[in-house]
């Protein structure tokens, strides 16, 4: 087993020209982001566009989006294990790796948003004075890290079994798999509650927020998976059944239906009752007192989400690979706008004293954000490069007396 792991590690450093071009490209973006961060760290968050009126911006928007992506692994786990849908079961590993990557990115986004990042230990248990259970931010730290650990354990178990050429016994880790499902829901619910609990911000202080979070997460996360799985299929020897892709697309259609319904419910309630709390929604979709910087983006997001919903709803369309990919890209962008800036900014516009400060990320914020996305992409690339040969049993094939590993369940299903 150790020799297989060793060779897998070596594999990370061995790649063709395409691989190194990609890695180099990511490294350049990471370096630029790092430079921008050094500048931010020395001059302060004043290099961002955030101000007292809009005190969270692009970083927290990306954090929120990525919590959703991390939670999405669950959408693959549920049909795979609970309903024994074999084509998806084989690709759960890649979903778990994505969850790990996304949580890592979340942690980066929170830390770079802090005014005093070196003091992060002040909010940790034992070391600092963690405000538990009052502060939802503490809850978020707790659930995100637990989710990270559970997914790491699942991946480590799977890979170590496969590396040893042994069967991947689901029975043993079933409790962890089952635990990961409510945890995926909880990371997203807690993140929603983080906003939801603030009575000062009517846009967030609506009960519909947590359900909307979950619904949109179950769109964007699987949509990213759809694209990644096809890339994995193209660049590695992993075989991925088209049926798995179509199943994921079908699930996205249901999630998007709920997402759009919840948005409609919110729009109706705010606009029909027409209280002063309609202002943030008005700012998003119509513009407020002539200020409408986000309006075109919000309509774009809505258009994207509705088009993708149509594509994924109709079986003939979603089974067309080109259309399927169009739909996935539309959702990834649509939800990124809706759940990113479209969620964070209207909490602050108009601000609690009625002022409208129009926020748009500064060059520094964009560079740092790009850097973290590049780090995530690099992490995922390396993880795949490491995991795939173990998963396919490539190294084992060359050793006599061992057969390629297979994913099996304790239940008889074959």
């Amino acid at each position: 087993m150790s020799s297989v792991l060793y060779r897998a590690f070596q594999g990370i450093m061995q790649g063709d020209r395409k691989y190194w071009t990609w890695v180099g490209f990511l490294l350049v973006i990471i370096l630029v982001g790092f430079g921008a961060y050094i500048n931010q760290a020395s001059r302060g968050l004043i290099v961002t566009s955030m101000r007292d009126q809009v005190s969270w911006g692009f970083y927290i928007a990306n954090f929120t989006y990525l919590v959703g992506v991390a939670a999405a692994a669950v959408l693959l786990v549920i049909p795979a294990y609970l309903y024994n849908f074999k084509p998806i079961k084989e690709i759960v590993l890649f979903g778990e790796l994505l969850a790990i990557t996304a949580v890592a990115m979340c942690i980066f986004f929170v830390v770079i948003d802090m005014g005093q990042p070196l003091r992060v230990w002040h909010m940790l248990p034992l070391l600092g004075t963690m405000n538990f259970p009052d502060s939802l931010l503490v809850w978020d730290v707790f659930v995100l890290n637990s989710y990270l650990v559970v997914n790491l354990l699942l991946v480590i178990y799977a890979l170590s079994r496969l590396a040893a050429g042994k069967e991947y016994k689901l029975g043993r880790i079933m409790p962890l798999i089952l635990l990961s499902i409510p945890m995926a829901v909880s990371i997203h619910t807690v993140t929603a509650f983080l906003y939801n609990g603030l009575s000062a911000r009517p846009f967030w202080n609506a009960s519909i927020l947590a359900p909307r979070f979950l619904a949109s997460a179950f769109c964007s996360g699987p949509a990213i998976m759809l694209l990644l799985l096809q890339l994995i299929r193209r660049f590695t020897k992993v075989e991925i059944d088209n049926r798995a892709l179509f199943k994921i697309a079908e699930l996205i259609a249901y999630a998007m239906a709920i997402n759009l319904f919840l948005l409609g419910a919110e729009v109706f309630k705010e606009f029909y009752s027409g209280s002063v709390h309609v202002a943030p929604l008005e700012y998003l979709y119509l513009g407020l007192h002539g200020k409408s910087m986000l309006t075109p983006w919000m309509w774009l997001a809505l258009g994207f989400n509705v088009s993708a919903f149509c594509i994924f709803l109709i079986p003939r369309w979603r089974q067309n690979i080109v259309l399927l990919n169009c739909g996935a890209v539309l959702i990834v962008i649509g939800v990124y706008i809706e759940k990113g800036l479209g969620l964070v900014v209207p909490g602050f516009v108009p601000d609690v004293l009625g002022e409208i400060y129009e926020y748009w990320p500064s060059a520094t914020e964009i560079m740092i954000t790009a850097g973290i996305w590049a780090m995530g992409a690099l992490l995922y690339t390396v993880a795949i490069k490491f995991a795939v040969p173990i998963y396919t049993g490539e190294f084992l094939n060359k050793l006599p007396g061992q057969r390629p590993a297979q994913v099996t369940t304790t239940k008889e299903e074959a």
Partner: protein
């Protein structure tokens, strides 16, 4: 607008990135370590506080170019501070704002102010605050047809900012003042999202004050000079009020619109006002229980 990054910033970023890699951690000295490991203010014992204050006073004196003292006077038993603001008198002159800045060592550049004075047109709906104007700039105040509403930290008895702070860097003192430990705040700004009164300010950049303008008489929980990346707000001038003085804004107000006192003292002016005038508090529906009362005396 848009996602375009100017090529120059890109190149600059890349260079800074390379530089950052080369710049390994600066040589540590004792003061940096002490300041990194400084404990939460409420978790320090007397001797730890003494040593910490000595270190901070030295640092501040070095940094701001004049001798700065940092007081740690505690809340007095039987005292709970409350504030009254007479809307019928306020003329919107912002003398309170500037007295506050001078007293409390707010950064002048970038400009930080703890009091916002909102201007409203008479006869228009105003409680949703959306029709208010914070940046009014007339030749003379008061202006015909307008009235003014100053807003600062309302020192809530049920403060949402304290509830959400992940590190307990902000809390309510026994005399009712919501305090911040500037050396414990991690700068996450969750409190700013939670505050319904827009009272909290963040040091987005490094605070700057001319040496001559620095107020050297400070309190740990109040007006001592602050740091980049931490949150601050009105403390009812804790350095003055715990020494038996009025807050700077009360003294500066030319029309006597600002009242202050101990709400537990039945003979205090503030108690008389609350008992006898028609008082209200901002956003009472949020149940934050402010100790900042607005009223109409005339």
């Amino acid at each position: 607008m848009g996602l375009q990054i100017p090529r120059r910033s890109f190149l600059k970023g890349a260079l800074l990135g390379l530089g950052g890699v080369a710049l390994l951690p600066p040589t540590a000295n004792a003061s940096i370590l002490d300041s990194f490991f400084q404990k939460h203010f409420n978790e320090m014992n007397e001797s730890e506080i003494k040593a910490m204050i000595a270190r901070l006073e030295e640092e501040a004196t070095d940094k701001w170019g004049r001798k700065i003292t940092i007081d740690t006077t505690k809340a007095q038993a039987g005292v709970r501070f409350a504030y009254g603001l007479d809307l019928s008198r306020c003329i919107g002159c912002r003398k309170c704002v500037h007295a506050c800045v001078a007293e409390n060592n707010q950064s002048r550049d970038p400009q930080v102010q703890w009091i916002s004075v909102l201007r409203f047109a008479k006869g228009e709906k105003w409680l949703d605050l959306e029709n208010s104007e914070k940046y009014y700039d007339p030749e003379k105040v008061p202006e015909e047809g307008y009235f003014y509403l100053p807003v600062q930290c309302q020192q809530c008895d049920n403060p949402p900012c304290v509830k959400v702070c992940p590190s307990k860097a902000t809390w309510q003192e026994p005399d009712g003042i919501v305090a911040i430990d500037y050396n414990w705040c991690i700068g996450c700004r969750y409190c700013m999202a939670a505050c319904p009164y827009g009272a909290r300010r963040f040091n987005w950049g490094r605070p700057n004050i001319d040496t001559n303008d620095v107020n050297p008489d400070t309190h740990y929980l109040g007006n001592r000079p602050r740091y980049k990346g931490t949150v601050e707000k009105c403390t009812f001038c804790v350095q003055r009020t715990r020494a038996g003085k009025y807050p700077a804004c009360v003294e500066a107000c030319p029309v006597g619109a600002r009242k202050f006192g101990n709400i537990l003292d039945p003979d205090s002016e503030i108690r008389y006002l609350i008992d006898n005038k028609r008082v209200f508090r901002l956003k009472e529906d949020l149940n934050t229980e402010p100790k900042f009362f607005y009223f109409y005396a005339t």
